[in-house]
Structures are given as C-alpha cells and as structure tokens.
C-alpha cells in the first residue's frame, strides 16, 4: 500500500533529501535515521547520477562522492530496504531517468514495490515523456511524482490533474541549491494546482531556513529540503547525524 499520503495527513510535511552512499552506505543510513528521528515525514533518497543536470554544486558533489565510493542502483535499493526495515516512513527515490531506464522499468518498479519504496522523482522526465515509466510504475503501485515549475503556467492543469502521490513545486528557476530569497509567487501557483490536483503539493528548491520553511508551508502542503542537508553531510562526515537531527527538528518545528 502506497504510504505517501501519510506524510501529509493532518500536518504540513517535511521532506528531507540526501544522496545514497554519500559518502558511504552506512553514513547515509545513519543520516536518514537522524532525519526520521528529527521528525521528517517523507524521505527522498537520491540515486546518484554522473550528470545531474538539475542540481547545483552541493548535490553535484554529493553525487560524485557517492559514485566514487561505489554506490550503485542496487546498493541504493539495499539502503532503502534497510531503512524500510527500521521505519514506516514514506520513501521516494530521486534520480535521473537514465539509471531507471537502464535498470529496466519493470525490474526497477517491481523492486520498489517489493521493498516498499513509494515513489520516484525524475527531474528529466516531463509530462510529455512520463508515460513510458509511469505506466509501468502504476502496475507496481509506485507513484511517479510530477514537478511543476515557475514557468509551467498553462501546463499546470494537465500536470496537476494526472499527478499521483504528491506534486513537487519547483520554487525557483535554475538548479537545486540554497537560496537567500524565493521570488516566485508560490501562492499563485498553488491556487492553480489546487484547482486540478487530487494530491497534496510540497515546495522545494532553495529552502534552507526555518522561517523560509514556515512561509512556504503556509502556502502549500509541505516543504522539500535537499542541499541544506547535503551540506551538513559534507561538512560533518560521520558526526553528521546529530547535526541533521537538530536541523530537521528545527525545520519541522517551524512548520508545525
């Protein structure tokens, strides 16, 4: 049974991202469990890709660290499995389409179902190209998450009305990374999304501070934080779990 809706039930969701295997399998497991303990409602596990075109430097570097330590799609599945054995929290994979395509859509989503990975986020799979993967994912009860960007405008209707799991609202133009200010009119986008969507919508890209999180969560159903967490991973190494716990707790408290 897909668990994504649990993340949004009677609350604003805090969604935390990190890259699998950054810098090692064990570290990323400990960091994920620290996020869970800190109050995260959904975990996004990045399967590293050699050429992550939607990422800024922070997550690009995490991808390189993970790949250079031997992380693979199979290892990422093992990581998700270990997390699943320890918690019921909803889990999504975030990666680029090529690693999924190359693994084989059937093989990939079947294994997601078996382990209990609830969704997949692919920034290079727009609405027009989603069906080759989404149709297979549906067979296995895995949600392919739709993204909506500041430039989506009249596309919001077709994207939102078919969206599953949750909708990922890209807060800003450009790539992932910490931003001091989010200039997009998120309220305006949310209004259009809510008109057509049957699922909740969370805002990501650029959110790092509790006050930003509160502002975005007030306008939507939750916030997604990646680069700020990955920065802690890079900065504190094996000491990262304590820092991640404190950070996630402060962010979750801000949006309660």
């Amino acid at each position: 049974m897909n668990k994504i809706h649990n993340a949004f039930e009677n609350k604003k969701a805090f969604i935390g991202f990190l890259t699998a295997g950054d810098p090692t399998f064990e570290d990323s497991f400990n960091n994920i469990m620290a996020m869970v303990k800190g109050g995260a409602d959904l975990i996004e596990i990045g399967i590293p890709f050699s050429d992550p075109i939607a990422e800024g430097p922070v997550i690009q570097d995490a991808n390189i660290r993970a790949l250079s330590h031997g992380m693979t799609t199979d290892c990422a599945f093992e990581l998700a499995e270990k997390v699943r054995q320890n918690t019921d929290i909803p889990i999504c994979f975030m990666t680029y389409l090529n690693p999924v395509f190359k693994y084989g859509y059937d093989r990939f989503f079947e294994r997601c179902q078996k382990i209990g990975v609830d969704g997949l986020i692919c920034p290079d799979m727009p609405y027009e190209e989603k069906h080759e993967a989404a149709d297979v994912a549906q067979k296995y009860g895995v949600s392919v998450i739709s993204l909506i960007a500041p430039t989506s405008e009249e596309r919001i209707k077709m994207i939102a009305s078919e969206a599953e799991g949750f909708i990922y609202i890209v807060s800003s133009m450009g790539v992932t990374g910490v931003r001091s200010e989010i200039k997009t009119d998120i309220g305006h986008i949310m209004e259009a999304v809510k008109k057509y969507a049957k699922v909740p919508a969370a805002v990501g890209f650029g959110i790092s501070k509790p006050e930003q999180a509160k502002k975005m969560a007030d306008l939507s159903d939750g916030v997604i934080v990646g680069s700020a967490i990955v920065k802690l991973v890079a900065q504190y190494g094996s000491e990262a779990p304590d820092h991640i716990y404190e950070y996630v707790k402060s962010m979750k408290d801000a949006i309660r």
Partner: protein
Amino acid sequence: MAKGRYGDFGGQYIPETLMNEIHKLEDAYEFYKNDKQFNDELNTLLREYAGRPSLLYYAEKMTKDLGGAKIYFKREDLNHTGSHKINNVLGQALLAKKMGKTRIIAETGAGQHGVAAATAAALLGLECEIFMGKEDTIRQALNVYRMELLGAKVNPVTSGTMTLKDAVNEAMRDWTTRVDDTLYVLGSVMGPHPFPMIVRDFQSVISKEAREQILEKEGKLPTAVMACVGGGSNAMGMFYNFINDKDVRLIGCEAAGRGVNTGETAATIATGTLGIFHGMKSLFCQNEYGQIAPVYSISAGLDYPGIGPEHAHLHEIGRAEYVPVTDDEAVNAFEYIARTEGIICAIESAHAVAHLMKIAPAMSRDDIIICCLSGRGDKDVAAIARYRGIDLHE
C-alpha cells in the same frame, strides 16, 4: 510520447522548467522556417557573410595517389570562422533575435561552435556566454581567446570530466535559470526536440549544395558521402539530402580514441547502448547502471559520449554505416592530406579522411566519394605536434 522522434530515438527528456520554452522554440521555428523574410535574411548572411556556397573540390592528387574512387571534398573548412558550425549558429541566432531574445548561450568542445556562436552574437548584437570544459579550454586555448576577442564570456566548466558533455550540462543548467531573455544555441543534432531537427535543417545546406555541385560536375550521384561524427551535425548535414538516394552510401566516422576495445574511446555506435540523456533517447557510452562513461578522443570536437537521435535511427534501419577511426589513423590522415593536397583540416574531419583513405583504393574509377571537411585545422597544429613528440606550444 512527445514529438521529435526518429523511430524510438529522440524525444524531450528535460526539466519541467524548460518545457514551455522548448515549445515556444518549436512554434517559432515552425513559423520562421517558412517565413520568406527570415529565409531571405538567413540566405543573405550565408552568402555574404559566411561565404556560401562552399566549394566542392576535386582532390586530384589524392585520387591518383590512392588509385581508386574519385575523391571530392566539401570544403566547410573554408567557411567564415573555419567550420560548418557557422551554418547552424547564423540560423539559430537569427531565430533568437526574431523570438525577442537578447542573449545566447552555447556549449563547445573543440571551440568551433563556441567561436561560431560568439561570431554570430557579435554580428547580430546579442550577448553571448560559452560553456567549455576546463580540459578543452587548455587543449584549445587559442579558440578561447578568439571567443573573448569576439566579445563572448567563456565559462570553463570544472564539473565531471571537464569536457563537452559537462559543458552541455552546464549550459542546460544556465538555461533553466534564464529562459526569458536567453536561447540555448545547441551546436549539434542532439538534445531535446526541436534541436536535432533545427540543427539538421540548418546544416542540410551542406548536402543540398553538394548534391547540386556533383550533378553539375559529374552528371551523376556519388557512390558514398562521408563525414566525421561526434554529436553528428556535419554528418547529418552531409547526409540529409542524400538519404532518399538509396544507392548513395552514407558513412559516419566516429572517434575511436585509442581503440574501441581500450575503454579510451568516444565511438558511441561501436560501444554505446540505448539510454536517455541530454534530453534525448539515443545511444550513449555508459555503464550497466546508466552512468555516463568518461570518453576519450584526441579530437575535442568528437569527445562526446552520445550521438544525435537521427543518426541512431539511420544506424538502426541500416541506412547509414558508422565506423570507428583511431587517434593514430586520424593523425596520419591529418598529415597526409596536408602533404598531398595542401589542406590542413580539423582533426575531427581527419577522422573521415582516414576512413576515406581505407575505402577509396578498393573502389573503381567510376566511383565517386564526397567527404566533408567540416573544419580547418589551425587550432589542432600544436596538439598534433605534441602527439608527434614535438614540444610546441601556442
């Protein structure tokens, strides 16, 4: 399935942030490609500024020396800026202006596309930023300075393997931050639709001219046309108007680097597998998990881990042949054509010349080969000297 498919290849696998812009580009191109004023302006630029039509040159000495097929070179190296890249950038930069853009960005490998883009931007009054792998800015330092002379800003890309694919990544990242005033002027027949189609159309002038020229000179079509292939823009341009001439062989020459079995290669058709990257479904050099492989070639312009979707399709249906050519063979050909015909061609083009030298002797005197000399080789002289152990620096 989105538009822009060549068989199963192609598509539009890009971030949502770019989708509206890419549709606007499709609409603009569909309109302007049939617009008389646009075509008049473009044709004037091609004729008066780029120097078209380019020559179809009969290489009599090589023909005699190799002793087989009659050899013609399509001299794209004689275009303004020294390569075929100008055909595409004049088209796209003019399109950018018509769309109301004030800035263009471009990736470059060898620097030829970057120089061409900077040139078009200077001429048409557009701001221009070029993304170039740091490794390539070292290999092609002269072209970096050329772009700067032309008023462009060159951003050395330090991510990944610091070569052409990373330059494309960075250009795409830049475009997602700034779509309103910027057009990404892609340099090859790759990326998301409509780029493979737009670039092919603008480059097809090569085969349009070559077909007319050979009919005028020889009264018949060639046995084969050939070109080097990285992403594949000069090859697509050289092939396009011959695709329906079923008896004309189409031969693409890929960069095998140190050899297709060495791991230090960029021969995508020979070693790649089906994947989805840089906005397109096509063939890519990659590992079993879909991580894009570091590729290698002496030629910065062919040092790309993928190939345009229309080439992948022509390969799959058997209409075109693709062959790997090593660094060594290309350098030998570079030297041979210089000595024999007095032409210093680009090391990229020398890959096609190398294969030409293999197949021409086995053909008869009635056969005709047209080989595209995609660019001139001034930029490569120092690197070739170093390859031969001569310590020559620009």
